[in-house]
């Protein structure tokens, strides 16, 4: 069980956290103007890379705040975490691979 570094609380047990999917998927400005395909991309389609991946996590059994994390999906290791709106560590990411 890893320790995950909550940007507000510091390192805490993995079981206190909740996974929230890919980060940096923003709600479209005007959904009504999107094509069905583009809307479906927003709602359903996510990257699935092997390697560093920007994700959202929530410290659900702690401070209950959301934050962003860069995690290596191959090793499971967290490469860094940041408060929303703050930059994640500048590690090379693979976001194109879709399976």
């Amino acid at each position: 069980m890893q320790l995950i570094h909550c940007p507000w609380c510091g390192p805490r047990e993995e079981v206190e956290f909740h996974y929230g999917g890919q980060a940096e998927i923003t709600y479209p400005e005007r959904p009504a103007e999107l094509s069905d395909q583009d809307w479906a991309e927003y709602v359903f389609y996510r990257d699935n890379p092997k390697g560093p991946f920007a994700e959202r996590w929530s410290h659900s059994a702690g401070c209950r705040r959301w934050f962003n994390a860069l995690r290596d999906t191959h090793t499971y290791r967290f490469l860094g975490t940041a408060k929303p709106g703050e930059p994640l560590p500048n590690t090379q990411r693979n976001t194109e691979v879709r399976v």
Binding site: M1, Q2, L3, E14, G20, T26, Y27, P28, R30, P31, A32, L34, D36, W39, A40, Y42, V43, F44, R56, S58, S60, R64, R65, W66, Y76, P84, G85
Partner: protein, 925 residues
């Protein structure tokens, strides 16, 4: 008796009586069941699982593969290793033949867990671990030291010399100093799994060894959850056997084990001993046993004998034969003779004990658990750690260091004490097996898995040790291949003509030794398994004889049977009361979220399908929430408390989900919105007072409140007080009746409940439970999200287009409503279903089918039109009814369909969801 005087650390002054396989024996404190059996000359313990071959005792600790026992007293426990069961007075056990037996009564013992944080965790209190712990403690670190044996010292037998003293005296001194330095030192504590970031689980056995003296309050076992900055793995090494024909007989034992039995327990495991070895360490066993009175012969595979050991053997009169291998054994319930082949050809040596040593396997499990890389070391004939892991170090024999001087250096560093002189080592000869019938050469003795089985696996085309393991089951028994794993790799490599270096070994996974589920569960059993949430009225419900149901973690009163009533009868009575007089429900579990802030209205407009910003203070609106995919997530009512404040209610089961959902949007998408969310579910208790006489009851209890229809219309709320206590009353109806939901601070809930009951007495006020609540809402076609929906249902599917705003430009889920699939005419829609026979209660979950024109079922696969989501008996309708999701259901109202019930087809008619008071006259009254 095989007990020899002058040896062992048992307490000979005290006698313990135990029973094995129906016979009574004696032993001493400090014995294991295995040592006590051997002391009594018992070698046969049980029989093997598949072939029924006799099994004995083949090791002295957790690596034993053969001596499985069933404990009967003090409490039944299956499949324990006799070598690790500490002897206590009154122990009753028998050998396992085949499989063990679980107790058929609940385990009365307590189990618990403890969290520990530390700088350095040292696993293993052998010489390396003790010194590592000492060095860390002297350097001021916080140290935890755990070791699985009853006493510290690891593999030290007491014959060694450390720092010029007998080794055990040295151990005692170190243990004393560790105690002075405040090291948390736990014996009988097995670190059974290592996980990421210095997390280690360890099982402490706290009472079994105390027998009847165990304090009643002490937990039997404790799981320590240890988080350490640095983990030192000093888990030692286990002796590796050599495979030969009939190597599974009782009386075949690891050489180090026989030495252990002698020095720890004062037991001479045999009188006529043959030692078969390819490694130096077995010589110590041979000489020690000879010194204790056994006749010993050494057969060494190697052509070159270890000079110093051979000289000592000659001095002790122990014959040593080089270049000799064991090819088989004779005997049934115990070895009678050893068959060997040497330079002079084949010989038969009478023996009652055959000791085997093929070298040593470092115990690398805990390093491997955290993906530490292992590499084959040809000198060891085994795998050892290669490469490093942050925060984990492996020292001593676990690291492949076998000489005591080296072990002490790895543990103690430059200041390490000196070891007494040790004979120079002659390299181990790596031998996996000797010649013989592969069908009788056992690799994993516990599994009856042989060299022939590996041959079959390889013959079937398997090329990976992981596959061979699963094909042969080698390494899958209780010992998880402690003695067989490396052998299996070696023999597989041999059969494949491959290099073991390339083949590798199977992955080690926790637990290192078996752990009882009871220990893992700890205190989380029975009512402590999951938190139980009760309302402030719980005691009242219990006293009223309520039958409870679990709704999430809540205990909710389901119905209140009167004498002689079953659930159907009670619910029919409760329903009738609510529809014709007055009923009252404890609805306190309803989820409640206090939404506050200048942007509260904007926020709710974005999350609900309908408009909340136009809701007037004092009014209530029903709202539906959808996911981005347009599917219904939850529903509930929204009360506008103030310009900048709403009280949102959710389903009982959806409370946490909805709060999380709201927080997620607020924090991640709209952090600019000035809104705060607070759960107030437990702060407010809610009692719906329901039925035509509800106005009388509520009006009587709250004289300050004008309860008339004009002053207090449907879907509005009013604040009032009762004896100075604030009360909020809302005209919300989940039953279709005239109803008032009375909200009060939970501290006052029981008092207010009693007041309402007292006022309602002359109207026959009837408390009702969740079952009646469900029937009443279903008769009105109100869906329960999560029962009538399943995450694939839109508000339109539910017939709730009226709750979807057309004015709002956007809200969560809106864009998905226009996806083509959501306009598919064959989508399932929410309808009612009335069984034509007027009698059958259609089981919830039943499929709905349609007959062909000619009245027969269509050819299989029969198309499914939908399914029954809710089904009840209705007092008001005088018949059973159901709600269902049916393809294109609303366009099919009036159609006849069929529902398979217990093998027969029951005809039912599709109808509108609202079965009672469609105009809403009762509700609005």
């Amino acid at each position: 008796m095989s007990r020899v005087h002058g040896y062992g650390r048992i307490d000979r002054g005290r006698m313990l009586t135990f029973t094995f396989d129906g016979r009574t024996y004696t032993g001493h404190p400090g014995d294991t069941l295995a040592s006590a059996l051997l002391a009594n000359g018992v070698h046969l313990v049980g029989s093997s699982v598949n072939l029924g071959r006799p099994h004995g005792i083949s090791a002295a600790w957790t690596e034993d593969a053969t001596a499985l026992v069933q404990i009967e007293k003090p409490f039944p426990e299956p499949m324990l290793q006799a070598t690790t069961v500490e002897l206590v007075d009154g122990l009753v056990a028998h050998g396992v033949n085949g499989q063990g037996r679980l107790a058929d009564t609940a385990d009365p013992a307590r189990y618990d867990r403890k969290h520990t944080h530390t700088d350095t965790l040292v696993i293993g209190a052998g010489p390396a671990g003790l010194l590592a712990a000492l060095a860390a403690a002297r350097a001021g670190e916080d140290v935890v030291l755990v070791d699985d044996r009853p006493v510290a010292g690891g593999s030290l037998t007491g014959t060694e010399v450390i720092d010029g003293r007998p080794a055990l005296g040295f151990v005692a001194d170190v243990v004393a100093e560790l105690a002075r330095l405040g090291v948390r030192h736990l014996q009988r504590t097995t670190a059974f799994g290592q996980y990421d970031d210095g997390f280690v689980l360890a099982l402490e056995r706290r009472t079994d060894h105390l027998g009847a003296d165990a304090p009643a309050h002490r937990s039997r076992q404790r799981v320590h959850r240890i988080r350490a900055l640095k983990v030192v793995v000093a888990t030692g090494a286990q002796e590796r056997p050599i495979v030969f024909e009939d190597n599974d007989r009782p009386g075949v034992m690891l050489a180090s084990a026989a030495r252990d039995y002698l020095h720890r327990y004062g037991v001479l495991a045999g009188r006529e001993v043959v030692v078969f070895t390819s490694d130096d360490a077995a010589y110590a066993a041979a000489l020690d046993l000879a010194g204790a009175g056994a006749r010993v012969t050494v057969l060494d595979v190697r052509d070159t004998l270890p000079r110093e050991w051979a000289a000592r053997a000659a001095e002790a009169g122990v014959p040593v034969h080089p270049s000799t291998t064991v090819t088989g054994t004779e005997g049934e319930e115990r070895v009678r003779a050893v068959l060997a082949h040497g330079v002079d050809g084949s010989v038969r040596l009478p023996a009652d004990l055959l000791l085997v040593s093929g070298g040593w396997n470092p115990v690398v499990h805990l390093f491997s658990h955290v993906r530490g890389a292992l590499a084959y070391d040809p000198e060891l004939g085994s795998f050892r750690p290669s490469g490093s892991l942050p925060g984990v170090i492996v020292i001593g024999a676990a690291n492949g260091t076998l000489d005591l001087a080296g072990v002490l250096r790895e543990g103690g560093g430059p200041d390490a004490p000196e070891a007494g002189p040790e004979p120079a080592r002659t390299p181990t000869k790596v031998v996996w097996r000797t010649d013989g019938d592969p069908g009788r050469q056992f690799v994993d003795i516990q599994r009856d898995a042989t060299v022939a089985d590996i041959g079959r696996a390889v013959g079937a085309g398997l090329r990976s040790v992981e596959h061979v393991k699963r094909y042969t089951t080698i390494g899958t028994a209780h010992d998880q291949g402690k003695t067989s794993g490396v052998l299996a790799s070696g023999i597989t490599a041999e059969l494949l003509g491959a290099r073991i270096e390339d083949l590798g070994t199977t992955t080690f996974r926790p637990p290192y030794t078996p752990v009882a589920f009871a220990a893992l569960a700890g205190r989380a059993r029975g009512s402590l398994f999951d938190p139980e949430r009760t309302t402030p009225l719980h005691d009242w419900h219990v006293e009223a004889g309520a039958v409870f149901e679990d709704v999430g973690q809540w205990k909710r009163a389901r119905y209140y049977p009167e004498p002689g009533e079953d659930m159907d009868a009670a619910v029919l009575r409760e329903c009738a009361a609510a529809r014709s007089g007055v009923g009252i429900l404890d609805g306190s579990t309803l989820g409640k979220i206090d939404v506050q802030g200048p942007d509260a209205a904007v926020f709710l407009d974005r999350l609900y399908t309908n408009m909340m910003s136009t809701l007037k203070v004092g009014r209530v609106r029903y709202g539906v929430m959808c996911g981005n995919d347009g599917m219904v997530l939850d529903d509930g009512t929204v009360l506008r408390i103030d310009e900048n404040r709403y009280l949102v209610t959710t389903t009982t089961g959806g409370a946490a989900t909805v709060l999380d959902w709201m927080e997620e949007w607020l924090q991640t998408e709209w952090p600019e919105l000035r809104v705060h969310l607070t759960s107030v579910t437990e702060q407010w208790s809610v009692f719906p007072v329901v039925g035509p006489r509800s106005r009388d009851v509520v009006g009587e209890v709250f004289p300050e409140l004008d309860v008339s229809a004009d002053a207090f219309p449907f879907m509005s709320w009013r604040d009032t007080t009762l004896d100075g206590v604030p009360v909020r009353v809302a005209r919300i109806s989940f039953s279709g009746e005239l109803a008032y939901e009375v909200n009060v601070n939970s501290w006052y809930a029981p008092a207010l409940w009693e007041r309402l009951l007292a006022a309602g007495e002359r109207y026959g006020i009837t408390p009702y439970g969740t079952e009646t609540m469900h029937v009443l809402r279903a008769e009105k076609g109100y869906p329960i999200i999560g029962q009538d929906t399943d995450g694939t249902v839109t508000p339109q599917d539910l017939g709730m287009s009226w709750a979807v705003s057309k004015k709002k430009e956007d809200f969560v889920g809106k864009r998905s409503f226009s996806r083509p699939e959501n306009h598919n005419p064959l989508r399932k829609q929410f309808v009612s279903l009335l069984p034509i026979d007027g009698r059958t209660k259609l089981p919830e979950g039943s499929q709905i089918v349609e007959l062909c024109e000619n009245g027969s079922l269509p050819e299989p696969p029969v198309p499914m039109l939908g399914h029954v989501t809710s089904s009840y008996l209705s007092a008001e309708l005088g018949r059973p009814f159901a709600l269902a999701l049916v393809k294109n259901g609303r366009a099919r109202i009036g159609d006849l369909v069929h529902v398979p019930v217990n093998g027969a087809l029951v005809q039912a008619q599709i109808g509108d969801t609202v079965l009672i008071d469609p105009e809403g006259a009762r509700r609005d009254g």
